[in-house]
Symmetry: D2
Subunit: 106 residues, 4 copies
């Protein structure tokens, strides 16, 4: 098993094909939305999606998301943790527990 990170593998893949030129932040954001639509299509008519198909589309969403983070010098783990801290303040446990209500209506 390689000790190369997923990001390094992605970067090498894109460089090899000279594809970085297409990876503007805007194009990558469009790509995340496009793949998110394909992921959603697994559940178009109901709650049961085929696990393999979901894995395939989710991989595409994650791929473009990681490329976008890299393009803007963002650390995926760090921005998720940061956001979680902000979310914790908007949804204190005592008010939000067991409720899907948006924070401005808690």
């Amino acid at each position: 098993m390689t000790s190369e990170s997923v990001l390094e593998t992605l970067q090498a893949f894109m460089a090899e094909r000279d594809w970085e030129q297409f990876h503007t932040p805007e194009n990558l954001s469009k790509s995340v939305a496009i793949e998110a639509g394909e992921l959603l299509e697994c559940f178009q008519w109901g709650a049961d999606g085929d696990r393999e198909r979901v894995a395939d589309e989710l991989a595409d969403v994650l791929t473009y998301a990681l490329l976008l983070a890299d393009r803007l010098d963002l650390d995926p783990e760090q921005i998720v943790r940061s956001k979680l801290e902000r979310t914790a303040r908007k949804y204190p446990v005592d008010k939000a527990k067991g409720r899907s209500t948006k924070y401005d209506r808690l």
Copy 2:
């Protein structure tokens, strides 16, 4: 700094608020698409998006994507690598280099 993984932090956050009940694969896929739309909004009228706002929305996309992977017992890194291998076969370097053309038209 904690040695707790991002996923463990997310799981604890959701359990604390008793939110797992809302996290069906379908609802999580809808959430990925919703946040992907908010990410795209950073570039609605042009190519320059505010980096902080993009980081915020990208964090939301990644959060729901990680929760969905977890819900279906999928390893995010492994499914991205798997997909990359399949993509390499659809886009061999000699044919695809420097071109954004879809594989069925290479």
Copy 3:
């Protein structure tokens, strides 16, 4: 040429195939988002989309949007006009002319 409205033609098409059962408001909203992603794919790597392909995907977005309006007894023309009136108040001409800025920053 028929004097049947587009909506009547859509309704007949769906009834003939016994498809109304799948057309819950939620499923139709998912469908609008899915097709919107396919429309966006026409512009994934740049500003020039193939007109025929755009027409095809836009037709799908419109189809599901019209079905959703019908399902909720909404008149498409009337809700667009209503929303435009509200938008006019958020974006008075003297403040908004020539600017793509969101209303809370005018």
Copy 4:
């Protein structure tokens, strides 16, 4: 009640604010996807969306869809009818009745 069509009202609204400059086909497609995400948000955690909020977001989807059709000299009604004819061939009644299966698996 005005005899001005919805499109004419939209065109006047946009011209008055000098907004046509932002309405490239690409920007309008991004906008359709963005609003489709907001529409989907009405159903993020379940099947029941607030009818007024759905009407508001659906109006936004329709608005951008109509502007995009106009920008590319496409007649919304005609492209929906055209697409329906093609869909009828992919989903003949005898094979597709009562089934949500995609055409390549009928």
